[in-house]
């Protein structure tokens, strides 16, 4: 099998085709959940890359919010095409990550995590206070066009879903290929031993910087999708620190084994939150917290570890059968 077109690639491709097919049958509220999952999934892929590098960010709402606000600001400037908005959102989030990276690449562990949060809260403070940035009310986001096309009203959301699915697909495949490359494997190398990386002839800080920018770009993609999906941006739902917490939640839920699992994790999170809110409006945080606790206790490597667990069991069973057969042959 070609090394790029491996199982994960085909899995993601089948997932995309499945989503596009489902799109014809989805109720609008389901489509909304799907769009939000795709959006948060993109951000969580960025966190996965950092996670594999041994870094956790409690502040990626910063880049998510930057992407989302870019959509609103660009619309004010008269730009209304989804693809242009996507590029702008990625660019602003990416540039921000690039500049902050010069500082953050020097920090590890809890300092890295909280420094990110600090920056996200600075942005939150600025957005909430500045009148011309919408203050706490934020901005409305108008319907976008698709490469100049403005679809009929009943086609708008399905078309948006198709585009979001493609953006997420490209992000996931790109991240997957990247993680399999030598540069991508540097995540493990930096996490395990920075001294060795330096003495192999590569800068660990540079490696971290690159991964940070990638995570910023992915968070930008997520922010753009989210802004267009909910049609509104405001500091509380885009930049406030619990938003960053959502992404960390998804990453823990999905595990860092595979980029595909991240989207499953995002979907599970979205469903969990929706239903928890619907059936226990006063206790939904408790339900979310309880699920996180269960995941950490019973599936510390996330949903993805179910798969490897099943495979191990299958192999064990197979091995047992083989040895039984051999024993039977010996008896014969």
């Amino acid at each position: 099998m070609n090394r790029l077109f491996d199982k994960t690639f085909w899995g993601l491709t089948i997932g995309l085709v499945g989503l596009l097919a489902l799109n014809f049958f989805l109720e609008e509220w389901m489509r909304s959940i799907g769009l939000q999952s795709l959006s948060r999934g993109c951000v969580a892929i960025g966190l996965l890359i950092l996670w594999r590098t041994g870094l956790v960010s409690f502040g990626h709402a910063l880049f998510f919010g930057f992407g989302a606000y870019t959509v609103a600001m660009m619309q004010i400037l008269g730009v209304n095409d989804l693809f242009v908005l996507l590029i702008c959102g990625m660019a602003t989030a990416g540039f921000l990550a690039f500049f902050l990276g010069f500082l953050l690449r020097k920090y590890r562990a809890i300092f890295f995590a909280l420094l990110n949060m600090a920056f996200s809260m600075i942005l939150y403070g600025v957005l909430a206070k500045a009148e011309w940035l919408g203050s706490t009310d934020g901005f409305g986001v108008k319907q976008v066009s698709f490469i100049g096309m403005t679809p009929a009203d009943d086609m708008y959301r399905p078309l948006l879903f198709v585009c979001a699915a493609f953006f997420a697909y490209i992000s996931a495949v790109g991240a997957h290929w990247y993680l399999k490359s030598t540069l991508g494997m540097m995540t493990m190398a930096v996490r395990e031993n920075e001294i060795r990386v330096e003495y192999l002839g590569y800068s660990a800080e540079k490696a971290i910087h690159v991964k940070y920018v990638l995570s910023g770009l992915l968070a930008g993609v997520g922010g753009v999708i989210m802004a267009v999906t909910v049609g509104h941006v405001d500091p509380d739902s885009m930049v406030y620190w619990p938003v960053s917490g959502d992404f960390v939640f998804i990453t823990i839920l999905a595990g860092t084994g595979n980029v595909g699992a991240t989207f499953i994790g995002a979907l599970v999170y979205e469903l969990l939150r929706t239903y928890a809110f619907e059936f226990a409006p006063h206790l939904w945080q408790l339900i979310l917290g309880g699920s996180l606790l269960l995941i950490i206790m019973f599936l510390p490597d996330g949903l993805w570890s179910i798969r490897s667990e099943l495979r191990n069991r299958r192999e064990l069973r197979q091995a047992k059968r083989d040895s039984d057969n051999r024993a039977a042959e010996v008896r014969r």
Binding site: S181, G184, E192, N193, R196, G201, Y202
Partner: protein, 260 residues
């Protein structure tokens, strides 16, 4: 012969502590140098300065005629000066094979393209050859955290030499290794390095190892090189015997005998 390494008037102070003073040494291509000295004599500090990990207070370090003071370890590594560590620096969570794959991936220029996969058959073949050279191919798929100390040391050196360095500095290659295994381990290392015609410099406490593998000895004492001579001469040197070896060491041949 050409000189691989020349060190001039090297000084290093940590506050009031003198870690290196007036070090003037040179290494010819193909030599094997043994660095000896008690704990705290400045041996590892010297290696750290030469490989760019520490910046000397003053002095000049020339590697292949190029001044390397102020360069980062990664730059020194790229010039062809590599090192191993007293405590092996490997990627503990990964298998020996993956450790080596990453090492080669980083070392090869072509390995660093965007989306250029780490696992290629060509690279795997190189890894297997290197594992065979260091005789650790039996442990190929074992996680580095589960390896015996000796194997981990060999892995550390195998990773340090993926760039075919011109000079390699080994920081106590036999520390933490049982007496019975030491010679076997050094045989493997020296054979592998000579295959690549690498100039070797290693820190060692065991004088029997030094006598067997080394052409020339540098004895460190309180940050200074108190002796720079052939192994046989160094073993007879009075200062070396007093400050480095200690009086309890009396091998037969120093008294005029032959190698047993």
């Amino acid at each position: 012969m050409t000189r691989v390494l020349e060190v001039h008037d090297l000084e290093k102070n940590f506050g009031g502590v003198v870690a290196a003073h007036n070090i003037n040494v040179a290494v010819e291509i193909g030599e094997t140098i043994g660095i000896i000295g008690a704990n705290g004599a400045g041996k590892t500090t010297f290696v750290n300065m030469v490989t760019g990990y520490l910046k000397p207070s003053s002095g000049r370090i020339e590697f292949m005629g190029k001044n390397v003071v102020g360069l980062q370890p990664r730059d020194v590594t790229k010039l062809g000066l590599c090192r191993s560590f007293q405590v092996p620096q490997v990627f503990l969570s990964e298998s020996i094979f993956d450790n080596m794959m990453v090492a080669y991936g980083i070392a090869e220029r072509s390995g660093l393209g965007l989306f250029a996969p780490l696992h290629t058959e060509e690279r795997a073949a190189k890894v297997d050859a290197q594992l065979k050279r260091y005789q650790i191919d039996d442990y190929r798929d074992m996680a580095a955290s589960a390896l015996p100390q000796g194997v981990r040391k060999l892995l550390d050196i195998a990773m340090a030499t993926v760039r075919n360095p011109k000079l390699v500095m080994l920081d106590e290659p036999t520390s933490g290794i049982s007496v019975e295994e030491k010679f076997g381990l050094m045989d493997i290392i020296m054979q592998a390095l000579r295959e690549e015609e690498t100039t070797v410099m290693f820190i060692e406490h065991d004088m029997e190892i030094v006598e067997r593998f080394v052409d020339r000895v540098w004895a460190f004492y309180q940050g200074q090189v108190i002796c720079d001579a052939t192994t046989a001469e160094a073993m007879k040197d009075e200062k070396v015997r007093e400050f480095v070896i200690g009086q309890e060491y009396h091998p037969a041949h120093v008294e005029g005998g032959v190698h047993a």
